[in-house]
Structures are given as structure tokens and as C-alpha cells.
């Protein structure tokens, strides 16, 4: 038994050692707990919060675009999506069957829903149908209590109340592309839309607004458990367009009588573009929601170029509408006085070439005023020859040709004013004087946009370097009227020069024998002045010249001349300027006056009646203040 006692003693000793070892382990565990839970607790608390707290962006409401009187041209419309939350729905197939009894669910939608359900977490809502109609929504809404997991989600889409009418000015919004990511986290939101052209693009930064944030608690799978905090974002600011949408509608309607027209209506003093129509237009909605390739093909293959804003991106030989520039250059250079007269026998022989006047028999002997009135080509060949291309190009640039005007929406094209340097750079050849002659009637290499033509007239009648604009940073038109920015720099053109040219343009319309006499406004207070132009798209062959030009109907549309007209009104105190180009709308000769001039006349008559630069129109039966009388008279003229 002594042996037993010894053995017990050994066991007790060993047990004590074991207990000691366990105490050490316990101390190690306690030490580790101290380290994690007390010493490094803050560090791990931060990590725990990073785990569970997720910052989500809330997209701000995009600002509206309104016209000068506050009429909404682009706003946001609520739309309704039908969504399924798979984990609540249970049998997705059965739910879809039940929905099919209520609304149309295509086979494609069905397959997409089933695919998304498999891929995503079961708590992530899957869109079954986007953009439900009001009727469809009502039908689903009634059935929702019997359909677990089915709900109706609200979204926002961009809405253009005037659709096609304002499409070229406003542009459209669409999903953000890779290149457009600029560091603004908003752009990474999956459904975010960004301005792609027009005012939508130019004003995107203001319209976009700033993102709000929502601090949410998420679990390990990313499911939102609850919202912890919310910082409201700033909605985008409204952008005020210079358009008067009533005029815009009027001009659109007026232009729709022709196949393809570019027309712009300017306030000559402020540069405000009151209407800008490139007809035909396009429907902006599919660009934001998704354009089918067939639709895209149709739009981009149309020879009338509905997607192009022809007012700012269409370049045309200005033809005789360029003559006021030539006249101004000649008067400024002193190579011509109002009394200088040339004789037009119907052609001008120069070197080996014969330059024809549009009028076969010629105009006889005439001075500047009649030359403008009758648009004599020979007179302007001779004038251009005397001025020379260098002074002519310089004057053209002063009027806004041959370069970007600096319009406040993207897409403007510069057109072209040929010079010696340009000729050498493009062909390597020397400038020939014949080209100067051709430039003198706005043909040859001279190219201009309709907006440049309108700007030229605005500069001519005001004497200032007016820059057209589509956005009014100062906001809406106030009832007190619109003085407009008077800080356009002076054009440095002698008032007498301007008066002579403007007088010639008055004669074009308002005197018998003027090319556009047929399109005159008989009311003397509203009379317009203008200049017609017909620009050749193709060369007139000697054969045609000898045998008579074919009738318009015999020439394919694409080969017919462009008809142009630029105009201002009222003649007494010019305020409104209109430029119209009817593509392939003219016959040779008086095309501009026959086709484009009546369009300008109707528009200028309507705009003077409405007077959107000086008056806030009557609304809701309340007459607007007639402030026109209290306004200082417009400059220029």
C-alpha cells in the first residue's frame, strides 16, 4: 500500500503541474482577449463599421430646361417598373404566369428574368417590365396583394414635352460611356443618364446636380438592413434656353412644307436664338431608352440628315447672301462709292474665262444699291476683283464667317473662307484671281452655316460682334423686358457703310424690281429687309447654258440648287434676324427669293406680332404688360 501512496503522490504532483499548465494557457487566452478587446478595440471597431456601413449614392433630380418664358422643354417624368423580389416570390415561374394573365410579358423578358434571378442574390429586385403604362400599372396594383414578391418601382426618365420640335437644340441624355467618366461618382451609378448633345450636353454640369448619400447598414451578402443616415443631394439647376417655344413651334410648322430646311431666328441685339429648326428632326426619346438598329439605320441613311443640326453643322455655299459682306469690304476699302457704277452685259470676261451673271441679258449699268437689290453677279465680280481676296476674307471673318462663332452648345462647324494661305496649304497651288471673283458671289470654296448667315445680318444691323446663344445664364425673361447684353464689342464698321448695305437689302424686298419683292411685308411698320441667295450644288455645263437649263422637275433632288434667304425686321429698327436655307429647294436664278424668302417673311411677321424679345406673352387670360414702349430703341439699323 505504500507503493499505492507513492503513486498517488506522483499523480497529485503531475496533476498540479497540469493545472499549472492550464493556468498558463488561460492566462494566454486572457492576455489575447485584453489585446483584442481593450488594447486594439478602436481599430477593430473601425473595421467592424467599415464592414457593415456602406455609403450609397442617391442620384439627384436632373434640372429642367425651360424656354425664355419658363415653359418646360425638358423635364423628368415618373415611370413605373414591375419588379420581383425572388426570395419573397418563391416560385418565379408561377409568379410570371400569374403576371402574364394581367400584362404582356414577352418570352424574351421571361428568359431574362429567370437568368437574372439565378445570377443575383435572392433579395435583389429584378425588373420584369420597365415603363408600365398607367393602365397596366392599375391592373398589377390591384393584384399585388395576391402576388408575393411583386411590387411596382418608381423611376425617373427624361421627358421632352415638345419632342422632335426641340430635339436638335436640347439634344438628349443617355447612359454614361467609359470615356465620359470624369471622377464624379454619380456617373458610375448604373441607371445614370448624361447629356449627349445640345443643351443637355453643354449644360450637363449644372443640370446634373450633386449626389446625395445614404449611409446604410449592410450584411455580409450586401443586403441593406437599415438606413443609418441620409445626406440629401442638391438637385440639378434648371437651365434657361433662349428659345421661345411658341416661335420654335411656328418655325417648325412653317419649315415642314419643304423637304429639308435649316432655319434660325435671332434676336439681333442679345444674340438670343429664338427658334432654331433643322427639319426634319428626330424623336429624342429612343436615344435615352434604347434605339433599335433598324431605327438608327433609317435615321443615319436618310439623305435629309435628320440627326444633323443643319443650322450649326450644315455648311453651304452662301451664294448671293454673301454679297453684303463683299459690299461692306469694298466700301470700307474705299474701292467703291455709292456712286460708282459698272455695266453688266450678262457676263464678265476675265482672262480666259467667262463669268456669267444669273441674268442672261445682263443688268445694264448700275450702282451698289441696285446691284444688291437685283443681285447682279457681274457687279460683284468686279467689286471682289477690286477688293482682293485678303480684304474680303478679313471682312468675312469680322462678320463671323470662316470660324466657330462660339455658340454655347457643341456641334458647330466653322465653314470656310478661302485665302491664299488656305489654297496653298490644301492644293499647293497659287491663288488665282478668278477665285476671288467667284468668292465675290459666295460660291466656289466659300462655305457657311445658316447660323453664320444669321449672325452676319445681326452684326450688320447692330454694328456689334453679336454672338448667338441658346442658353440664358441670367435666367428667364422678366416682365420688364429684355435689354440683353450690350457688351458685344463694336464691329468697327462705319455707320454709313452699314446704312448703305442695309438700305440695299431694304430695296431687295421692298422695291419693285428687288429679287424678293414678292415676299415683302406690306405693313410698313413691320417691313423686312433681306438678301436672297441660290447656291449651285453642281456645275452648270456649257451645253445646259446653250440649250437652257433643265426644268426643276427634270433635275434629281440631290442635284438641285439650295435656296437661301437672310432677313431682318423691322426695317426701321431691326431687332429680329432670320436665315433660312432650303436644301435643294431652288431653281437657278431667283430660288432663294421664291422658296426661302416667303419662309423668312412668315416667321418675321409672326415674331414681330409676338415680340418675344420685349414682351412676356399673355398667359392664362392675363394680359402681359406691354413694355415695348418703355424700352429704349434697339441699336443698329
Amino acid at each position: 500500500m505504500r507503493q499505492d501512496a507513492l503513486r498517488h503522490k506522483l499523480l497529485t504532483r503531475r496533476a498540479a503541474m497540469l493545472a499549472g499548465g492550464q493556468a498558463l494557457l488561460l492566462a494566454a487566452i486572457g492576455g489575447r482577449m485584453y489585446q483584442l478587446q481593450i488594447a486594439q478595440s478602436e481599430h477593430y471597431t473601425v473595421l467592424a463599421d467599415e464592414n457593415r456601413i456602406s455609403l450609397r449614392l442617391i442620384a439627384p433630380v436632373r434640372g429642367r430646361i425651360v424656354d425664355r418664358f419658363g415653359v418646360a422643354l425638358a423635364d423628368n417624368r415618373q415611370n413605373y417598373h414591375l419588379v420581383i423580389v425572388p426570395e419573397q416570390a418563391g416560385d418565379i415561374g408561377a409568379t410570371l404566369d400569374a403576371l402574364e394573365a394581367l400584362i404582356e410579358v414577352s418570352e424574351t423578358d421571361r428568359r431574362r428574368v429567370l437568368r437574372e434571378v439565378r445570377r443575383k442574390h435572392s433579395f435583389v429586385p429584378v425588373i420584369v417590365r420597365a415603363n408600365l403604362s398607367w393602365d397596366e400599372m392599375a391592373r398589377v396594383e390591384v393584384a399585388v396583394p395576391e402576388l408575393p414578391g411583386v411590387s411596382i418601382d418608381q423611376g425617373v426618365t427624361r421627358h421632352y414635352p415638345f419632342g422632335e420640335i426641340t430635339a436638335h437644340v436640347l439634344g438628349y441624355v443617355a447612359a454614361v460611356s467609359e470615356q465620359e467618366l470624369d471622377g464624379d461618382p454619380l456617373l458610375e451609378l448604373p441607371d445614370f443618364r448624361i447629356g449627349k448633345s445640345g443643351v443637355e450636353k453643354a449644360q450637363d454640369a449644372n443640370l446634373r446636380g450633386t449626389a446625395g448619400t445614404s449611409q446604410v447598414e449592410v450584411n455580409a451578402l450586401g443586403r441593406v438592413v437599415r438606413e443609418l443616415a441620409r445626406v440629401a443631394g442638391k438637385p440639378g439647376q434648371d437651365a434657361v434656353s433662349s428659345l421661345d417655344v411658341v416661335m420654335q413651334q411656328f418655325v417648325t410648322r412653317r419649315c415642314s412644307t419643304e423637304q429639308s430646311v435649316a432655319c434660325v431666328l435671332l434676336d439681333a441685339i442679345t444674340g438670343d436664338i429664338l427658334a432654331l429648326v433643322s427639319s426634319p428632326g428626330f424623336d429624342p426619346v429612343p436615344f435615352s431608352t434604347g434605339l433599335s438598329s433598324a431605327m438608327w439605320q433609317e435615321l443615319s441613311n436618310d439623305p435629309r440628315k435628320p440627326l444633323s443640326n443643319k443650322v450649326i453643322a450644315g455648311v453651304y455655299p452662301p451664294g448671293s447672301t454673301f454679297k453684303p459682306v463683299v459690299a461692306s469690304a469694298a466700301l470700307t476699302a474705299g474701292v467703291l462709292t455709292p456712286e460708282t457704277s459698272f455695266t453688266c452685259p450678262g457676263y464678265l470676261a476675265f482672262g480666259n474665262t467667262t463669268f456669267h451673271c444669273w441674268r442672261h441679258g445682263g443688268h445694264g449699268t448700275l450702282r451698289l444699291r441696285d446691284a444688291i437689290k437685283k443681285s447682279c453677279d457681274v457687279f460683284f465680280y468686279e467689286t471682289a476683283r477690286r477688293v482682293g481676296i485678303d480684304r474680303l476674307a478679313a471682312m468675312a471673318h469680322r462678320f463671323g464667317f470662316g470660324g466657330l462663332l462660339g455658340l454655347d452648345i457643341p456641334g458647330e462647324r466653322p465653314g470656310l473662307i478661302p485665302t491664299r494661305e488656305w489654297k496653298f496649304a490644301t492644293t499647293g497651288g497659287a491663288w488665282s484671281q478668278g477665285e476671288t471673283l467667284i468668292a465675290g458671289i459666295g460660291q466656289g470654296s466659300v462655305l457657311a452655316t445658316p447660323l453664320q448667315l444669321a449672325t452676319m445680318v445681326a452684326r450688320l444691323v447692330t454694328g456689334r460682334a453679336v454672338i448667338p446663344r441658346l442658353v440664358r445664364p441670367e435666367g428667364l425673361m422678366l416682365p420688364g423686358g429684355d435689354r440683353g447684353p450690350s457688351d458685344f464689342p463694336s464691329l468697327d464698321l462705319a455707320p454709313r457703310t452699314r446704312a448703305l448695305v442695309v438700305d440695299g437689302m431694304n430695296a431687295v424686298v421692298n422695291e419693285q424690281g428687288g429679287t424678293a419683292y414678292a415676299a415683302r411685308i406690306p405693313n410698313p411698320g413691320l417691313a423686312m429687309g433681306g438678301k436672297s441667295g441660290t447656291s449651285q450644288v453642281r456645275h452648270i455645263s456649257d451645253y445646259e447654258r446653250a440649250h437652257g437649263v433643265r426644268k426643276v422637275r427634270q433635275v434629281p433632288w440631290k442635284q438641285r440648287d439650295h435656296a437661301l434667304f437672310v432677313a431682318f425686321a423691322p426695317v426701321s429698327a431691326p431687332r429680329y434676324v432670320c436665315a433660312t436655307v432650303v436644301e435643294h429647294g431652288g431653281t437657278s436664278g431667283g430660288g432663294g427669293s421664291a422658296v426661302a424668302a416667303p419662309i423668312c417673311r412668315d416667321i418675321l411677321l409672326e415674331v414681330q406680332r409676338r415680340d418675344p424679345s420685349r414682351r412676356v406673352p399673355a398667359e392664362n387670360g392675363v394680359a402681359a404688360l406691354d413694355t415695348a414702349r418703355n424700352q429704349p430703341g434697339p441699336r443698329g439699323g
Binding site: 500500500m1 503531475r14 492550464q22 477593430y44 471597431t45 447598414e217
Partner: protein
Amino acid sequence: MSGLTSDFGRELGFIEKLRGISWGLVVLVLVAASCGIAVLFSAADGNMQPWASAQMIRFAIALVPMLGAAFLGIRSWFRVAYWVYALALALVVAVDLRGFVGMGARRWIDLGLIQLQPSSLMNIALVLALARYFHVRTEEEVARIRFLVPPALMVLIPAALVLKQPDLGTAIMLLLTGAALFFIAGMRLRFFALMGFAVAAAAPTGWHFLRDYQKNRIYTFLDPESDPLGAGYHILQSKIALGSGGFFGRGFLNGTQSHLSFLPEKQTDFIFTTLAEEFGFVGGVALLALYMLIVGYGFVIALRCRSFFGRLLGLGIVTNFSLYVFINTAMVMGLIPVVGVPLPLISYGGTAMLAVMFGFGLVLNVGVHREVRFNRKGELQPD
């Protein structure tokens, strides 16, 4: 005391056994299990379903084998010790042959009504068998190496089988528990040194037998932040949960890591983290103190027993229990690699609860029969 001492020659009556039970230990076990149920309630976002109520029922059921084990005569346990061991080993083999795979490892056996994880019962069976073996051997024999071969095999065979399942955690538990019993039984310390060398020599070969995921766990343990979304995710999230608990914890039902599912296995292996996130350092230390009380209580009971078998049995089971606690807590704190052992009495799991309660039944048994002495053949023995 004196009454029992003089009555060594006869079996104890039911009332005597009832009085001999260490009710203090039963209460401590009850308290620990209640803590576990509370944490399971929280882990289910404040619901009794699916874990807390099931655990309560299991605990209630496990009280029966616990008290059964306490009341059976200690000499009967001595006699059936090898048979229990053989039965447990057979179950482990059966799992290897026909058990089903759960959570990527073949550990479970379906006994119709319940699904059993025999490897956790193996721990208790091993302690019983080793206690009997060393009770039979004399001190001189234990000092000789050839008498250590059979018990060594008793440890290594089930450990190897369990490792093959693969269940590294239980295999390590079996090895450590076996080693602890060798130590208590009086094996020469130099043999331990020898075993240490042997293990060191065998380690590279053993490494070869580890599954890839087990190797990964060891890599991850060495550098947990190297792969925060992969293998290191569990341990990192566990440390975040513990650390963010701080001194007083986030409050009952307010643990974000566990409730938002960042914490893996929050109701089983990582339940200590769930508790310590919500109750903080204070709660964690309190639970460890409770465990310490239970272990201490077990040591006292075992050391007051007069039979060598009883002492070994009591110490072995209590040591096994405390090893579970240490390995589990050290694992969730990132002190050792993740090996997948539950926290006894707290973790959700039927077989583990059953095994632990059965083990405490045996500890109580040792206490009840502390005056019973018997010889190498199990015959009663006078002083």
C-alpha cells in the same frame, strides 16, 4: 465520510449516491449551458428557432446519460471501459466506411433518430480505456517503454482514423488528451522529450497527409491578412468581432458582426466570438472564469478519489474539457490555426453536448465513488 469509509465492502445505495453527487458542479454546468442557449438565442436574431430551443431539448436529454453515468458503479465502468472504447472505435470506423458527408467531411453517422458524430464520443472512450490501462499497470511498468506501446496505439489508431475523415481538430484533441493521461499516469518525462523529437521528425511526413484546406488554414494562421477575402476571412472577421466588442461589448442582440453574417459559424465553432462581441471583455472573461471553476471543481473531485482509475478518469475528462475550451478560444482569437473544435457546453451541436455531458457524468461518478477502492482486476480492496 466515516460511514462510507467503513462501508467500502458493499455497493452504495441510491440515496447515498444521490447525496454523493457534486451538485455544485451540476449547477455550474447548467449555468454554462444556459449561457450557451442565450447566445444561440441572440445568434438567431433574438429567436428561439432554429438553435436555442433545439439546444435546450438536447441539454435536457443529455442530462439522462449524465446522471446514468454518475450512478452506475465505478467498478462497472472499469470493467466495460475497453468495450466502450471498442464500441466508439467501431463507430468511427463505421463513419469512415458508410457515414455521410456534411460540411465537406465524412464525420456523421445516421442512427435513424439522431445523427451522431462518433469522433466526439471517442475522446471520452479513450479516457476510460487509458484510465483502466494505467490503473492495471504498476508504476514500474509505466516507467518502461514496452508497456507504453499498447496505450500509445489506443491513442494513435482513433486519431489516425479521425484525421482521415478529415477532422484535424478531434485528432489533435485525442493526441493531447492521450498525452495528458500519459503524463498524469506517471510516464517518465524523458519519454516526453523523446516523443517530442519523434513528432518533430514525423511532422514533414504528417504535413504530407494533411488536406489542402488544412494546409491553407495553417498558412492563413501564419499570415491571416494575406488573403482577407479567402481563407483568412473567417479569422479576420472573428478578430474584428472580438475587438469591436471592446470592454463591455455591444450589448445583447446588438453584435453587428454576428447579426450581419460577417462572422462565420457564429452558432458553432465561433460562438465564443458571438458572445464576446455582445458581452465584451467582461463577458468573455466571465465565461472563462466559469470554465475555470468547472475545471477546478473537476480537479478537486478527481484528486479526492481514492482509486487510481477514478483519479485518472476524472482528471482525463476534465483536462479534455479544458483542452476543448483552450483550443476553441485560441482558434477564434487567431492564436492557433482554425482546426474546427466546438466550445463545450456552448456551441450548437448534439453529439458534442452528449459527449460533454456524458463526460461530466463520469466525473460525478468519480465523486460519488471516491471511497471505493479496487485492485487491478477490479475487485474491491480494503485499505
